[in-house]
């Protein structure tokens, strides 16, 4: 294992110390794994809390700030946060207008956020929860834990955060997050696995000339192993899977070409070129593109494509000012 770390057991706290040093405007508790925006709680405003396992940086802590999240709860690597963290973050940001939990659909995240929401309600904090499940690689059926939350988490956090910033009520902020989720789909491909620091070994093995289709973001293997292909073919496989589930023709799209952590930005742009070409060839318009490593899986190589079918309102909220460590515009 070659990692730029000090102690495999302390990577999350050590990274949060760095986040705190680099972004003094955030209130970071490295020991308890919470990151809270400086001006929280904001009286009368709905607050957004998200969180999940670490290893997906900049998700979620990198999205704390004006126009996006009020707090993030950082679990151990690829392990959901615990209810104590979620309650602490929820109480820190509660401004009396309620708190929205944005939760990626993984069993651990869902269970821990559910327990935390129940306990927060005992404290008279109104909590609404939105589950993000945009990954088309998993069949949503009785036979699985359901689709995973991946790239659309960023879309939901940005857009719902913008609406909360405008002063909307909890029901409206939750509704727009759900709307974004329903209008979004993602598909990911891994070219190499990743290594959880505490485990010290890659989570799966890929032979030379193989790739993994339909991955999640926790270093778990995907649904299918196929021969390695070029960027155009990988993009075609990804977008075909998305289009089969949610036809994109005629839509104005928000598109994220997301590096999984180990793929250089140059390659992400190669994938984006293919993505834009594919979408235009299939009758869709890319209204808002975003390219970069935003929802990662440690040092995994590969990419994930996420699309959201925009409406004029969603576009306006996407364009609204945001000021966080990882997303910043208009301000």
């Amino acid at each position: 294992m070659r990692k730029l770390i000090n102690d495999p057991e302390n990577v999350v706290a050590d990274a949060l110390r760095g986040l705190a040093a680099a972004h003094p405007s955030l209130r970071v508790d490295p020991e308890n794994g919470t990151v809270v925006r400086a001006d929280a709680p904001r009286a009368g405003r709905v607050a957004l809390v998200s969180g999940g396992g670490s290893g997906h940086e900049p998700l979620h802590a990198g999205f704390v700030g004006h126009g996006m999240l009020d707090a993030a709860c950082c679990g151990q690597v690829f392990t959901s946060p615990v209810p104590d963290q979620i309650i602490a973050a929820t109480m820190a940001v509660n401004g009396g207008a309620g708190v929205l939990h944005i939760v990626k659909n993984y069993t651990g995240d869902v269970l821990n956020f559910r327990m935390a929401a129940e306990l927060a309600e005992d404290e008279d904090i109104e909590v609404a929860s939105v589950i993000v499940n945009d990954d088309v690689a998993v069949e949503d059926s009785l036979y699985t834990a359901g689709r995973r939350g991946t790239g659309a988490t960023l879309f939901a956090e940005k857009i719902a955060g913008a609406l909360a910033e405008e002063g909307a009520d909890l029901a409206s902020v939750a509704a727009v997050a759900r709307e974004v989720n329903e209008r979004s789909r993602s598909f990911g491909v891994a070219l190499s696995p990743c290594t959880v620091p505490a485990a010290g070994e890659p989570t799966f093995q890929l032979e030379e000339g193989e790739m993994e289709l339909g991955i999640g973001i926790h270093g778990e293997p995907g649904r299918e192993r196929v021969p390695l292909a070029d960027a155009d073919a990988i993009v075609d496989a990804s977008l075909s899977a998305i289009d089969a589930d949610m036809p994109v023709s005629g839509s104005e799209l928000l598109v994220l070409v997301n590096g999984m952590g180990g793929t250089p930005l140059m390659e992400q742009y190669i994938a984006y070129a293919a993505t834009a070409r594919w979408l235009e060839g299939h009758g869709a318009t890319v209204a808002r593109p975003l390219v970069g490593p935003y929802v990662t899986s440690l040092e995994m190589a590969g990419s994930m494509i996420s699309v959201c079918r925009l409406t004029p309102d969603l576009t306006r909220l996407w364009d609204a000012p945001v000021e966080t460590p990882a997303l910043r515009w208009g301000r």
């Binding site: 396992g53 679990g75 151990q76 690597v77 690829f78 392990t79 959901s80 946060p81 615990v82 209810p83 104590d84 993984y106 069993t107 651990g108 269970l111 821990n112 559910r114 327990m115 690689a137 998993v138 069949e139 009785l142 036979y143 699985t144 834990a145 995973r148 959880v196 505490a198 485990a199 070994e201 989570t203 799966f204 999640g216 926790h218 270093g219 778990e220 293997p221 995907g222 649904r223």
Partner: protein, 220 residues
Amino acid sequence: MTGQASAGLDARGAAAWIRRAAELVSAEAERLTRLDAAIGDGDHGHNLHRGFTAAVAALPGDAELGETRPGKVLIAAGRAIVSKTGGASGPLYGTALRRAGKALGDASEADAAAVGAALKAALEGVQELGQANEGDKTMVDALAPAAAAYAAALDGGADLAGSTRAAADAADAGAAATVPMQARKGRASYLGPRSTGHLDPGASSTALVLRALADVTGRE
């Protein structure tokens, strides 16, 4: 636990169970993590080790154990596990222990029938939270046969030691039986048919926790 073999489970016995479970989980953490890497995300052993270590730290001190109830001990251990473990296993194991503790009520010593009821309550709590059934390749595949085997042994006249041994053996067999199953819950379910051919890590750790109960109730 007093000098003789296990008529019932008192607060010291409950604490001994948690300590023994922590020992077994710690000894097997690497194996559990390897099992999880095959069909999950490779952290089960580490997480459960962290959770049970926290549960041991939350146990009442020796003097207090003489005063308290086994139900309270299990509830405290369950709370600690929920607080420290993370992942799905934190809420699921924490709920199992808290429900078992609640089922024991305020008795200073749980008899064999009460321990059986506690196992059943633990199973119900896990199923309610995780929505898993037998055959889904989860911890339920160890816990459900264990609770059933415990009840059958007790009906057949076994004492606490005999019933917990039957439960632990059934949990081992139940865990082993997860190998050919296709996962329908948890992260392994994302693999679809590729989840077959692997031992489920949650069922394996559940078998360890039930073995720990048999170990401490069978002790002289």
